[in-house]
Assembly symmetry: C2
Homo-oligomer: 351 residues x 2
């Protein structure tokens, strides 16, 4: 990943879990970074720790702005003040369960925010975007691994917003071919920066497996519910493709460099996964090994809409982005525990 002549990148949702890790890597690669985040699902302390991790010199290349993409004025203020070379668009709500209970919030945040962003980017002729998509657009795939040209399907409002936004990106590029948009379909981001200073800090009850396991390990939650233990998998629990958040961060830098280097990139989707399927129970035992903590579990029925196994085909990203995941499950669990152990209450003080 070649360094850049200080290109200026707007990172929406840059105070979040994947955002902060990507911002660290962007700064380390010589990019200038401007964050806009409404702190709906993050805290400004996370940005302070990014500064701490990259050091005082690179911190001067990082600007944080509190703002909400649903307010066009907040985006206008940024674009009218500086020229951006590209946008990495993380901002959006991402909890499946919450989206089923409150879909309006998801359509408002994820669709209105992104459409406003496109309108302002177009106005200021900044037409390069790396978009946070998700493997959720594969719905319940009949075969795995998931290849980028599979038929897409939404299983819940959160997934619907991601699918809608991919379709919107394709329509925009079809009409205005000068747009260059890379859709990164994350599989299951876990782990944390090796320093243990930044990591996933979900508000309320975690929706994802590893933050939940982590909170059981530090005593914030009593036990882990394992939804489904009769799946046709090696141990009956569901299989997913867990990917280290630092691999994911590097995937974004690789995508960014692809936007800058490939005039024919158009609007292209790439899976960001390891290509390995790991079951829930395997992750639990790896985490126990990494943390030395016993994780009590409760076997529960399957959840409606959950797929048996979802993992990525990784050839396209490797071939076209020159990117491949480096970290395995053990490192993911090691770094997840390191973050949890040092920050049992995330970025907050103990209540």
């Amino acid at each position: 990943m070649g360094s850049s002549v200080e290109q200026n990148i707007l990172v929406t949702g840059g105070a979040g879990f994947i955002g902060t890790h990507t911002v660290v890597q962007l700064l380390n690669q010589g990019f200038k970074v401007t964050i806009i985040d409404n702190l709906d699902n993050s805290v400004v302390e996370a940005v302070h720790r990014v500064r701490e991790l990259v050091g005082p010199d690179l911190s001067t290349k990082l600007e944080f702005n509190l703002g909400d993409l649903r307010n066009k004025g907040d985006i206008e203020k940024l674009f009218s003040n500086q020229r951006f070379d590209a946008v990495i668009h993380f901002a959006g709500l991402k909890a499946v369960g919450e989206s089923v209970g409150n879909p309006r919030r998801y359509f408002d945040n994820n669709l209105v925010g992104t459409i406003n962003l496109y309108e302002t980017m177009a106005k200021y002729n900044c037409k390069m975007m790396v978009f946070s998509s998700s493997a959720t657009v594969y719905g319940q795939p009949e075969i795995v691994p998931c290849v980028e040209d599979f038929e897409l399907q939404a299983m819940n409002p959160y997934g619907r917003t991601k699918l809608f936004l991919e379709e919107i990106a394709r329509d925009i590029h079809a009409a205005e071919p000068e747009w260059k948009i890379i859709l990164l379909r994350y599989f299951n981001p876990v782990g944390a920066h090796e320093s243990g200073r930044i990591g996933e800090d979900p508000k309320g009850i975690p929706n994802n497996l590893m933050p939940y396991i982590q909170q059981v390990a530090v005593g914030r939650l009593p036990e882990l519910n394992v939804f489904g233990h009769d799946y046709p998998t090696m141990d009956g629990s569901a299989v997913r493709d867990y990917i280290h958040v630092m691999d994911l961060a590097d995937g974004h830098v690789a995508a960014l460099n692809k936007l800058f280097s490939d005039s024919k990139i158009g609007c292209t989707a790439y899976n960001l996964g390891t290509g390995q399927g790991t079951s829930v129970l395997e992750m639990v035992s790896s985490f126990e090994k990494a943390s030395g903590k016993k994780i009590p579990i409760k076997l529960c029925p399957r959840r409606a809409g959950d797929a048996t196994a979802v993992y990525a085909s990784t050839q396209k990203a490797e071939k076209e982005l020159g990117w491949k995941a480096k970290y395995g499950v053990d490192e993911m669990c090691r770094d997840q525990w390191n973050w949890a152990n040092k920050n049992p209450w995330g970025f907050q003080k103990k209540p």
Copy 2:
């Protein structure tokens, strides 16, 4: 269609073609009507003529507001000043060709506008909506007539916004069952009020068949391009389900009454069509008969994405809404010509 104890209806896009005709019928049925329209695709003269048609007394029940659903403040201003019982949501862009060339405009107008509307309706606990959907959500149906439970598909950005908004409506109702939303899938609205004082007045080159024929008839356009004359239909031209705009207007009143009377309506789609397929060339000859004008035509190749034949199954609307189209093709052409003949330049003066 029973009269109502002056329920107050917000009609978005009420200055438009279908909007004005529906407002006339709503007022005649004793509803109070508030219009919000950004006049993006209409003119305020159309509202003046609605007042003229319903007379001075009923005109006092009609309020017009210039406003844009993309500005939440414009919607907030209305809801904070009066209580609405239901919303009929017409507002949105609807030209297929334009949507392919400028999809961002469609996602901005149609999605952001509607999501803002839902948010404000929820805030003021007004949770009944009649939504303008379209037969375009049937994509290129393999079999006809189209039944409401067919698989849905978008063929262009305009169609995508309608499909997205139907999915959003279903998600909202699934999460908040107190919402009552009727999705009206229009087939091909044509014709005009029998007075000839209101009708379709598209800006620029018409996208739809009848306004195009109409402008050829009054000499504004030289000839009609017939896209496709080798379709497997009775005369080789494409077949559609043309419906008189007054039938469509009555369909909205019937839907509104259904919302008020049926606690179990939930989120339900209904076709508004005649169930009859009519070819382009048949419409041309009916219009020639009605107008006494010869319509020169030019046979052109098919347009990509156009279906061979699309017409409605009408049983569900008839059974559940108690609504059925009354007007045939001859009345449609009679009233279309009556409007065109009296208003060759639509609501505008001759340039």
